[in-house]
């Protein structure tokens, strides 16, 4: 499943601090969209509003709309728990559950919805998800070993397997490669290219080469100073952003003149 995300005039606050102001953009299904920009520009915050994970921080709230296939995630009666089951997330640092085996990590999310899964169904799902995350061949002989025994890159792919095992509509990635070496990064980037056939993917990255390699569309965010809200500066096809940006500050950023 893959769904369209529409963000309409979104403001994000942490208590009284306006972190992100007036963002509107539309993300098409089966595409990879990269959020780039300097630190503190609110791109991670914006990403987290797409599955309401920003609410983990006390005092966080939004104004505006985030629609997934027309349904407002912030509408009355919408439970953030339900939202997060549809919108999966991969974090900056790999975070498999250390107390669970590789197998249990993969089905951790599914078990929340469906506690009584037959063993064969679970086995199939584990294999399918690990195949989907390009990890199956490396771990198929040690599924009952702890997930924390894997390398960083493998752990991150395990987290991706865990996220896709619940068949979400959207996959959010918050700098998924920033803690990984170049080889592992390449493996994840290849994986992102395959995953976009099934999922709508939004990725935050500080690595501009990565954005240009993996994404179809790129959104550039910026802040005018400390304490100022982050704003969406330009949102276009990735090739346009990197080769022929319309806004001067975008060009300055991608050409390395600041940020």
């Amino acid at each position: 499943m893959s769904k369209r995300i529409e963000i309409n005039d979104l403001n994000v606050y942490y208590s009284n601090f306006l972190a992100v102001e007036g963002v509107s953009l539309t993300i098409e299904p089966r595409t990879v969209t990269a959020f780039i920009g300097p630190s503190g520009c609110g791109k991670s915050t914006l990403l987290r509003t797409i599955n309401r994970m920003h609410e983990v921080i006390p005092g966080a709230r939004v104004e505006g709309e985030v629609l997934i296939d027309g349904q407002d995630l912030y509408g009355p009666g919408i439970d953030p728990v339900v939202v997060r089951r549809q919108v999966g997330m991969v974090f900056q640092r790999p975070n498999p559950f250390p107390t669970m085996s590789i197998r249990d990590n993969v089905i951790a999310g599914v078990k929340l919805n469906n506690r009584k899964m037959s063993k064969s169904d679970a086995d199939n799902l584990v294999e399918q998800s690990l195949q989907g995350a390009n990890l199956w061949n490396e771990v198929k002989d040690r599924l009952d070993k702890p997930g924390s025994g894997l390398s960083g890159g493998q752990q991150q792919r395990l987290c991706i397997a865990r996220a896709i095992a619940v068949s979400p509509d959207v996959l959010l990635m918050d700098e998924p490669c920033s803690a990984l070496d170049p080889i592992s990064t390449l493996a994840i980037e290849d994986l992102i290219g395959e995953l976009k056939n099934e999922f709508t993917i939004v990725i935050v990255t500080h690595n501009m080469q990565q954005a240009s390699r993996v994404s179809d569309r790129t959104a550039f965010f910026n802040i005018s100073g400390t304490g100022e809200p982050g704003k969406l500066i330009e949102f276009d096809d990735t090739t346009t952003i990197f080769e022929n940006p319309h806004v001067q500050s975008t060009e300055d950023y991608i050409s390395g003149r600041f940020g």
């Binding site: 339900v82 559950f97 865990r162 996220a163």
Partner: protein
């Protein structure tokens, strides 16, 4: 200089431990070797006297743990993950304060407040649930039973277990909590997936510390219970098994001759029981080390 003083400190603890162990063994040997008739009038000997004490010690401590552990985990989770910060802080101070109350005070409270207060409830239990062997009658008229003792002990060990459990729960990496939440876990499911498994080794340590205190607790038990040397699972009757520590405290002043050796022998047994409890805890923690989150 530093390494020498560290070495001295390390050796000192071994020397003290060895001195205590040698004292216990040497002084209790006569009790093990003595003629059974010299120890008790009915001729049952050392083990006939000590068996009920060992039972009473473990029984009272286990009951206390059974009451205290779920409460402690609940309070610790409330403080660490549910309560608003201000309330959590206040609650934390109160729990720490509870840990500072001397056991004599708990004993007094057990006799004068708790026992009379729970006695009507005991009567109700015997009347309505008397068919369960634990609640068999006749009910104690004073309320000073092994269950009352267990409640007092539970209140005493509650702060220790709660304080450690709270610290352990607070150390759950935010990453793991967010991983669970991002999968669509509710707060309770997040606690089950990330917080409790991560805190498991610490929770076992906390439990063992609490159990250790309950096993060795003297004053509260000695004050609340009118002891008899029996093995009985009934919780509400007037005849109750007492514990090793309480028995030593009550009988040592009048003991003489072989009686002193017998009491020291029971002390040796208490030492061994505590040692076994700690070893079990260590095994339980090590068994799943790879899954502990420490790597």
């Amino acid at each position: 200089m530093f390494s020498t003083s560290a070495l001295v400190a390390g050796v000192a603890i071994l020397v003290v431990l060895a001195a205590v162990a040698i004292f216990l063994v040497a002084e209790s040997l006569p009790a093990f070797l003595a003629n059974p008739a010299d120890i008790s009038s009915d001729g049952s000997g050392f083990w006939g006297l000590v068996g009920p004490l060992v039972f009473g010690t473990i029984w009272a401590a286990a009951l206390a743990l059974l009451i205290s552990l779920p409460l402690s985990i609940g309070i610790a989770l409330f403080i660490s993950h549910i309560a608003p910060r201000k309330l959590a802080q206040g609650l934390g101070y109160i729990i720490d304060l509870l840990a500072a109350v001397p056991s004599v005070v708990f004993g007094l409270w057990g006799i004068t407040v708790l026992a009379p207060a729970v006695q009507p409830f005991f009567v109700w239990l015997v009347d309505n649930l008397g068919w369960i062997p634990f609640f068999a009658g006749p009910v104690s008229g004073t309320g000073r039973t092994v269950l009352t003792v267990a409640i007092v002990l539970a209140v005493m060990i509650l702060p220790i277990i709660t304080a450690i459990a709270r610290e352990v729960f607070l150390q759950t990496p935010r990453l793991h909590e967010e991983a669970a939440l991002a999968l669509g876990a509710t707060r309770w499911e997040m606690i089950q997936m990330a917080v409790l498994p991560f805190g498991r080794p610490g929770l076992i340590s906390a439990t063992m510390l609490g159990l250790g205190r309950a096993l060795g607790e003297t004053m509260a038990v000695a004050m609340v219970l009118s002891p008899s040397v029996i093995i009985s699972f009934a919780l509400l009757q007037s005849q109750n098994p007492t514990t090793i520590a309480a028995n030593i405290a009550l009988n040592f002043p009048e003991a003489s001759g072989i009686g002193v050796n017998v009491l020291i022998g029971t002390g040796l047994l208490l030492f061994i029981i505590t040692l076994i409890v700690n070893s079990i805890a260590r095994v339980a923690i090590n068994r799943r080390k790879a899954f502990s989150g420490a790597n």
